[in-house]
Amino acid sequence: MNVLAQQLLLGLLIGGLYGLAAAGLSLVFGVMRVLNVAHGELIMLGGYGAFWLAALFGVDPFASLVLVIPGSLALGALLYWGLFGFVVRAHEETRIKNSLLIGFGLALALHALAVRLWTADERSIPTSYGGAVLSVGELAIPLVRLATLTLALVLIGALQLLLSHWRWGKAIRATAEDWQAALLTGIDIRRAYLIAFALGTALAGAAGTLVTVAYSVSPSIGLEWTLKALIVVVLAGLGSTIGTFVGGLVLGLAEAASAAAFGGPYREVVGLVIFVVVLAVRPRGLFGR
């Protein structure tokens, strides 16, 4: 029983990162109708950002968010100008197809580049507080992972505030709802696309930092995180930031439960099963509109 509770707890803690990873992807997909399958590689780059800041300058990994997030925003803007900005000119179906292909090529190139620059080794950031554990009853809560879940929640809250109160946040939501109507009311939708993509990349960078501090980073984590994020997006549906976050927690819990029930080797299967069932039963996701 305690073992199960402990596993579910760890599932919940990683679920927060699934939710954060998915929030950026969901924002970009919802607003631009562009599916960036290189999202996981952006997470990987964010993770390396934190790793090198810690390794070269001794920056605390949590503090490095202050640098990684603006860096990711800039990277997102560059990627939009260089690649994805061309894709949004096409009509919707071509747009999705071309963005999938470009994302695929980008993922391939970024992965190869990361292997070339930083080798294929797995890296983690050692910290003085890394092993600290909070004991609640018989449960052991790793403090670092608890902190990543909390920070993920804070970032999701900040995104929610931006989208509901900031002028461009509202413009982004209007564009997601109906880009033609948004255009008619005088919203510069290209600008809304740019901001949404940059924000999505920033969320990916932040998620990468948290993944690296709580777990580890290597050039090949990209695809795995893209998939987790995609499963969460399908699970949660588009249009709700909080829903996406909850979807991430659900996936984390479901994986932990299935690992406990069927054994570790089958934990990935549950993701696929949930994915296919949700796709077949509720195509718009559990929380989608």
């Binding site: 090529g105 980008l106 992965h111 190869a112 399908v234």
Partner: protein, 314 residues
């Protein structure tokens, strides 16, 4: 010339080239030459199989490796258990096809991205699961290794490449292929003129994954030892996608040209710089999608049009 005539002429050219390659083992070539041509032939099969769904039915399958891997897994299991290899390969192809249809029926009900996401997830999840459940390397028994003949594998690869070229040529010139292209161009318009989009997409997927399953079976028959999760690796999908797009998606000759170029450059570059070929191909691929969606085939046509125009002007 009509499009169908164009495809037929290319089919004849490619099959003639393959027929010439059938003579290669008779000249007692070095083993590495035979291995190299084998890799090209396997790449042609893989690229043409991916091309059916992407180029004709217009659906992006990002989990092609899943079907290649299933073909390899089933073939290897049955063959090492004593089944004749052709029978084992057929069973592998059937397994891949059935799996594809199950996923396809769920994912094709939705448009656009969901099929791509579904197949991507399928491929990765199968890879990790196979890697977890079968972590041991699979090596052929000593007796089988003693009786290993590369020539048999070579001819099987040649036959499979020919089958995939014939299949795509037949599809391209048929009513079914026409229907698929109608879906690719505009699904709603195609449906309203009486094209059954779902059944045609499933047909394309079945044909594509059957060929991918056979290619996987060939891989399992060819390699003496490999990790069971290796053929499920995403790079098989990457390879198929890159070769098809660089050559020219939705054409018969494009994937063949792309496969030859890809394998030649990959072997050449891999000797000098490990992994850099993926960086180059990734960047080249993005450039092609953005600037030259028809790949090499389109580039050749443009060059011919420019040259033709210049000749007329002179």
């Amino acid at each position: 010339m009509t499009a169908a005539g164009h495809e037929r002429r290319w089919a004849v050219v490619i099959l003639a080239a393959l027929a010439l390659l059938a003579l290669l083992p008779l000249t007692a070539p070095r083993e590495d030459v035979l291995n190299f041509v084998f890799l090209v032939l396997l790449a042609i099969t893989l690229a043409e199989s991916w091309n059916i769904v992407a180029g004709y039915a217009g659906q992006v399958n990002l989990g092609h490796a899943a079907f290649f891997g299933l073909g390899a897994l089933v073939t290897r299991t049955l063959w090492t258990a004593g089944a004749p290899v052709l029978l084992a390969m057929a069973a592998g192809a059937a397994t891949a096809t059935v799996f594809a249809l199950v996923i396809g029926v769920a994912a094709f009900r939705l448009r656009g991205a969901y099929f791509a996401i579904g197949t991507l997830a399928l491929g990765e999840i199968l890879r990790t699961t196979v890697g977890n459940v079968l972590p041991e390397i699979s090596t052929l028994p000593t007796a089988t290794i003693a009786g290993y003949r590369l020539t048999q594998r070579y001819y099987l690869a040649l036959g499979l490449a020919a089958v995939s070229v014939i299949a795509v040529a037949a599809l391209a010139t048929s009513r079914i292929g026409l229907g698929m292209r109608a879906i690719r161009e505009d699904e709603e318009a195609a449906e309203s003129s009486g094209v059954g989009a779902l059944s045609l997409k499933l047909t394309a997927l079945a044909l594509s994954t059957a060929l991918a399953g056979l290619a996987g079976g060939l891989f399992a028959y060819y390699h003496i030892s490999y990790y069971p999760s290796h053929p499920f690796g995403p790079h098989w999908t990457f390879d198929a996608l890159l070769m098809t797009y660089i050559g020219g998606v939705g054409t018969l000759q494009g994937p063949v040209l792309g496969a030859v170029l890809y394998v030649v450059l990959k072997e050449y570059l891999a000797l000098r710089w490990v992994d850099i070929h993926l960086l180059i191909f990734g960047a080249l691929f993005v450039a092609i999608v953005l600037l030259l969606p028809g790949g090499l085939v389109q580039a050749a046509e443009r060059a011919r049009a420019v040259l033709g125009g210049a000749r007329r002007a002179a």
